[in-house]
Amino acid sequence: MATDVAAVGELRPGTRPGRRRLPLAWLVVVPFFAYTLLFLFLPAGEVLVGAFKGAHGGATLSNLSDVIHNPNLRDDYKTSIEVSLVTAGLGALFGVLIAYAAIREGTPRWIRSALTTFSGVAANFGGIPLAFAFISTLGVLGIVTVFLQNQLHYSLYQHGFTIYGKTGVEVVYLYFQIPLMILVIAPAIDGLRREWREATSNLGASSFQYWRYVGLPVLLPSIISTLILLFGNSFAAYATAYGLTTGQSVHLVPITIGFDISGNVVSNPHEAQALAFGMFVVLAVMMLIYIPVQRRASRWAK
């Protein structure tokens, strides 16, 4: 191969003039860049540009202002952000507590390995099957619903609970949010050295003081960066909510965009693009916070 011959000569970069080296060395990475350009940046870029295009061409802000002034679409964002905040917050809280319970000394080793293995599966399990698993559990005819009704004479659905609503979506999302938190936070908890705890107790600190002044400050950057990850994970999710509600009862931004794309709602073709632009802005802001916090978090991780 011609490139092979050329590349062999490049093994000792110092022996050649630097100018000729650069283009050849770059040649190898061109396919990757070309691919991301063709199938990610150009299509996504068109969505972003489309958000500012008028129905008959020309640049306009009317699509965005339509979204902002449409109370239904504003509510979509509100619901999406609420669901993401709740499932990220609760996912992080429960994730940390469960991970710590499994990792701390005195808990058998096998529980930890079972938990991390299961978390790896559950964090990647989602969409329609997950929605169905919860309908089997807490749906109108779900096993738990029927059990509570028959054995304890307690009707979940008469007391306002429904798995097909916003609370239901949150309960279901936690099924992949908590495991994701466990996967990310476990190495950080491993990073809490035993000597720190011994040192604090030798110095007369209480367990509360240990957590307040040592444990939490060390874990905090990891917890915050994972919170952002969980928020984005929930904010971008479509299939699970769609499977649970068939898009009818809970109006999240991705669900509305889905309807626009599949043409079930006759509306401004640029509405979906304006909605997508809003999602992109939220996620990009999250990413800008994530990167520096992540750098801080990796300091103590083992």
């Binding site: 990475v29 068109e46 559950a122 089997s136 994970n233 299939a239």
Partner: protein, 265 residues
């Protein structure tokens, strides 16, 4: 330090209840009789196994997964190798590019792709092995990138390459017999994760009207509850098998690494 903590055990039991009951409920649903709804029968499983549509859909998804894995590895392995060997300054750029799919949700990606490639040739736009596979490679990028990047960081790319070339091996031999065996575990981990992603991906397939395995689950779900429960368990089993394979190859390769998920999709 206390050896036994009541609160720790309470959290572990609560977690077990929350995570296992939905699976148990699905199992109980799947063994109800398709006609009568009584326990216990394997008729829901029989229905699936005798449905030719099931076999064609799961086959399509599996072939899509293989195609996605091959394309992703062909694009990423040489790129990451070369970046580690020659263009270390580019590493930040590449890892940023590989992170971008996290910021572009599948629902936006599919909308953008449908728009951008409208009017492209039928062999691409209307075929799952064209359009859908192209999108799945983008979805797989972050996962496979981080797996491979960690794999390349764990070996001394410079020394291995120079030693191999100094001993008279060609570039092809160096890649095939020196570099690839050393990153095999990382590549396999990325491949199994991609398999799990593609076998479960619904959003892009449904909105671009391709009939993959997850779309089949949704169709069955609308009309027949018990076979849908069986399919749900099967889907969980596929994810489990893929993740188990990662642990297995990782253990054999002497590396344990956390795999991050992207559940919601």
């Amino acid at each position: 330090m206390r050896r036994f903590s009541l609160s720790a055990w309470i959290w572990i039991v609560l977690a077990a209840v929350y995570f296992l009951i939905p699976l148990l409920a699905t199992l109980l649903f799947s063994i109800k009789d398709k006609q009568t709804g009584n326990c216990c029968s394997l008729s829901a499983y029989g229905f699936i196994l005798h449905d030719p549509v099931f076999w064609s859909r799961i086959r399509l998804s599996f072939e899509l997964a293989l195609e996605t894995i091959v394309i992703t590895l062909l694009l990423l392995v040489p790129t990451i190798y070369w970046v580690h060997l020659r263009l270390p300054r580019l590493r930040a750029v590449i890892s940023f590019l590989a992170l971008v799919p996290f910021v572009v949700p599948p629902i936006i990606l599919v909308g953008g792709l449908l728009n951008f490639y409208r009017g492209s040739p039928q062999w691409f736009y209307a075929k799952p092995f064209g359009f859908l596979a192209a999108a799945y490679v983008i979805l797989a990028f972050p996962y496979v990138f981080f797996s491979l990047d960690a794999g390349f960081r764990a070996i001394d790319v410079h020394t291995l390459t120079e030693a191999s070339l100094n001993l008279g091996a060609s570039w092809r031999t160096t890649l095939a017999r020196v570099i690839l065996p050393n990153i095999k575990v990382a590549a396999l981990s990325g491949a199994f994760l991609t398999l799990a992603i593609v076998m479960g991906e619904y959003t892009i397939a449904a909105l671009s009207a391709f009939k993959t395995f997850p779309v089949y689950i949704e169709n069955v779900n609308e009309t027949q509850a018990y076979p849908a429960a069986a399919l749900t368990l099967l889907s969980f089993g596929i994810t489990w098998a893929a993740m188990g394979s990662i642990l297995l190859v990782g253990r054999r390769g002497g590396a344990t690494r956390v795999q991050l998920g992207g559940g919601g999709r």
